[in-house]
């Protein structure tokens, strides 16, 4: 399968007064053409930083791409100039942000905000761009698009704003859509509608999607593969089925146990993961999860585990996956 995006050993740091925050510490993953991949993990695990790095939206300074490659269509975008990136952003990559209430410009009409990208990347005339904007609003399911196109964001409800945001990001039919928690700020019924819409559009347009979320329900609904991040690293990746039914990393297991399930006994209390993630100003030498893990061994505190292959699609970074650990426990 053709890879649209490949992230290799990405390190991103932020220089703050307190010191260097190593937000992303060696992330590897890839996205195939037409595929939806989820990046999950708790707040502060580096998923948004990873996503914004892919579009190079991290402000530098204070941010810094320390190491690694981001291959988009086979070309590394890290060394690209701002000018080159501007030609890629909006045209080949689109992004949807978390909060539709703040991600639209309050003093510009929805239509103009959609048209900007079209005029820049497809050299459309204003009238043609407006026509296209109306079509796009119709595609994302906004009623009376010819009237709505002249309205301002404050005249839209939250769900409609997110639809408009999707229209903006899909205006130039990008090859890759990055959705940074697109449903977190919406209520549940609207969430379902937005997810349906995205799934629908993905099928129609063949766009690859990176879905950043901490909602495992969204993952199951939308995605084919899952990347689990913790403390700036990928700790497990696999297909949705592998992650949900055969999780290998104790953190992934913990995540799944902390979500209510309809098929289990309802009286059973949920099990949270105790403790807090490590401070990325001083990341631990060993496994980032060791301090909160039930299965911590001596090696976990001193050496960071590499991603080990379980099968072709499923990988986990845990010492329990090491051949020697397996030999010991006999599993």
């Amino acid at each position: 399968m053709e890879r649209i995006l490949e992230v290799k050993d990405l390190h991103v740091s932020f220089h703050t007064y307190a010191g260097e925050v190593k937000a992303v510490r060696g992330v590897n993953f890839h996205v195939n053409k037409g595929e939806a991949v989820a990046i999950v993990g708790e707040s502060g695990c580096g998923k948004s930083v990873t996503a914004q790095s892919i579009m190079k939206l991290i402000p530098t300074p204070p941010g810094q791409y320390k190491k690694g490659e981001i291959l988009f269509n086979g070309k590394d975008i890290i060394p690209m100039s701002n000018k080159q990136m501007q030609d890629i952003r909006g045209k080949d990559m689109g992004m949807i942000f978390q909060d539709p209430m703040t991600s639209l410009n309050p003093t510009m009409t929805i239509g103009n905000q959609i048209m900007e990208g079209l005029i820049k990347h497809q050299n459309m005339a204003k009238s043609a761009a407006k026509q296209r904007a109306i079509e796009l609003l119709e595609i994302v399911g906004i009623p009376q698009p010819d009237r709505r196109v002249n309205q301002y964001p404050h005249e839209f409800s939250g769900g409609m704003r997110q639809r408009a945001m999707i229209a903006i990001s899909l205006a130039c039919s990008p090859k890759l859509l990055i959705a940074d928690e697109p449903t977190t700020a919406l209520d549940v019924t609207i969430q379902a509608q937005i997810l349906d819409l995205m799934k629908d559009l993905q099928k129609k347009m063949g766009t690859s999607i990176i879905m950043i979320t901490h909602d495992l329900g969204v993952v199951a609904e939308m995605c084919e593969r899952v990347i689990v991040m913790y403390a700036g690293k990928v700790i497990e990746q696999g297909t949705v089925d592998e992650i949900f039914y055969n999780p290998q990393h104790p953190y992934t297991k913990g995540l799944l146990h902390s979500v209510p399930r309809l098929d289990l006994n309802r009286d059973e209390p949920l099990t949270p993961i105790f403790g807090t993630p490590p401070d990325l100003l001083k990341p631990p030498a060993g496994c980032g999860f060791a301090a909160r893990c039930d299965c911590t061994m001596k090696v976990c505190l001193e050496h960071d585990p590499e991603l080990t292959e379980i099968n072709a699609s499923h990988k986990s970074a845990c010492w329990l996956q090491h051949p020697m650990a397996k030999a010991r426990t006999g599993s």
Partner: protein
């Protein structure tokens, strides 16, 4: 819209009435009068003078008379400058002050906004530090020092501009620069602070994710949103700068309204005090109305007349 304007005009008239009343009684409570001077006048002459200007009447009658004058825009004679009426003084002084003020305003607005935007775009770089250094200087150096400094450098040393008087356009340059310094600095700081806040907003990230370049983002997405607080400040600034600046006018010998206003207070020249105050107040309330209307042009979320629909 029309209903809103009508309502606003009524409120404007009420505020003007209150200002007239307050100024009138405050002014009469200051000890001394227009004919008090070091040499005491013979009582008969003083009485005659008072009677000539109707100052012997009880205060409330004077007040009613004055209100009548204001309504018909007859602001009465000046007590110290016998040859001219207050109307004459305003129509003589205001065009000069307004000319100077208008130029200073343009310099302050364009200079201030550009300086603020540059400082914000190069946040924490040398451009930012130098722009803010200029702004602090502009705010903290009083205009009389700045004015004398300009006169020394540009007139005496370099000889580029005339040192004083109000004649050709070249005469207007130095007073304009002196007058615009402090509002320019203030606008620059205000713009910078707002721009920095706006550049951190999510919708700027959205604009970047569309592939727009920094100049386009700045002009189309940031400046408009950053200007609202600046416009709030522009209303009162315009009113005060157009009606004359005493210090700058005095130093450069500009025959404007600001000079008349300050002199009239020293001389207890009742009619001139009243006249200039009312004139200033009128411009102020009109400017505030204009600012409110301009808001609606810049920010679509603001609707006139409190009819907001969500």
């Amino acid at each position: 819209m029309l209903r809103y304007l009508g309502k606003r005009v009524i409120f404007m008239i009420i505020s003007l009435f209150l200002i007239v009343t307050a100024t009138f009684f405050l002014m009469h409570s200051i000890p001394g009068g227009p004919f008090t001077s070091e040499r005491t006048l013979p009582p008969e002459i003083e009485q005659a003078l008072l009677e000539k200007y109707n100052l012997h009447l009880p205060l409330h009658e004077q007040y009613v008379n004055y209100l009548k004058g204001v309504v018909t825009w007859e602001l009465g004679p000046s007590f110290t400058e016998k040859s001219s009426t207050v109307n004459d003084m305003i129509s003589r002084g205001f065009p000069v002050s307004a000319h100077l003020g208008f130029q200073a305003l343009l310099v302050a607005i364009f200079g201030g906004i550009s300086l603020g935007v540059i400082a914000a775009l190069y946040h924490n770089k040398w451009q930012d530090y130098s722009a803010m250094m200029l702004a602090v200087l502009g705010l903290s150096v009083p205009s009389f020092i700045l004015a004398s400094f300009y006169q020394y450098i540009f007139s005496i040393e370099l000889g580029w501009f005339p040192i004083a008087k109000w004649d050709t356009w070249r005469h207007t340059v130095l007073p304009t620069l002196a007058l615009s310094a402090s509002p320019l600095a203030f606008i620059a700081r205000l713009t910078r602070a707002n721009m920095i806040e706006i550049m951190g907003q999510d919708y700027i990230k959205t604009a970047k994710s569309k592939g727009l370049s920094t100049p386009v983002i700045t002009v189309k997405h940031a400046i408009r949103n950053a200007l609202l607080p600046v416009i709030t400040y522009l209303g009162p600034l315009t009113a005060s700068i157009l009606t004359g600046a005493f210090v700058v006018e005095k130093i450069f010998g500009v025959p404007g309204l600001g000079r008349e206003f300050v002199m009239s207070i020293q001389n207890r020249d009742y009619t001139v005090i009243m006249g200039t105050t009312i004139f200033y107040a009128m411009i102020l309330v009109v400017m505030i109305l204009i600012v409110d209307i301009v808001y609606t042009l810049i920010d679509p979320r603001i609707k006139l007349g409190g009819s907001r629909k969500e």
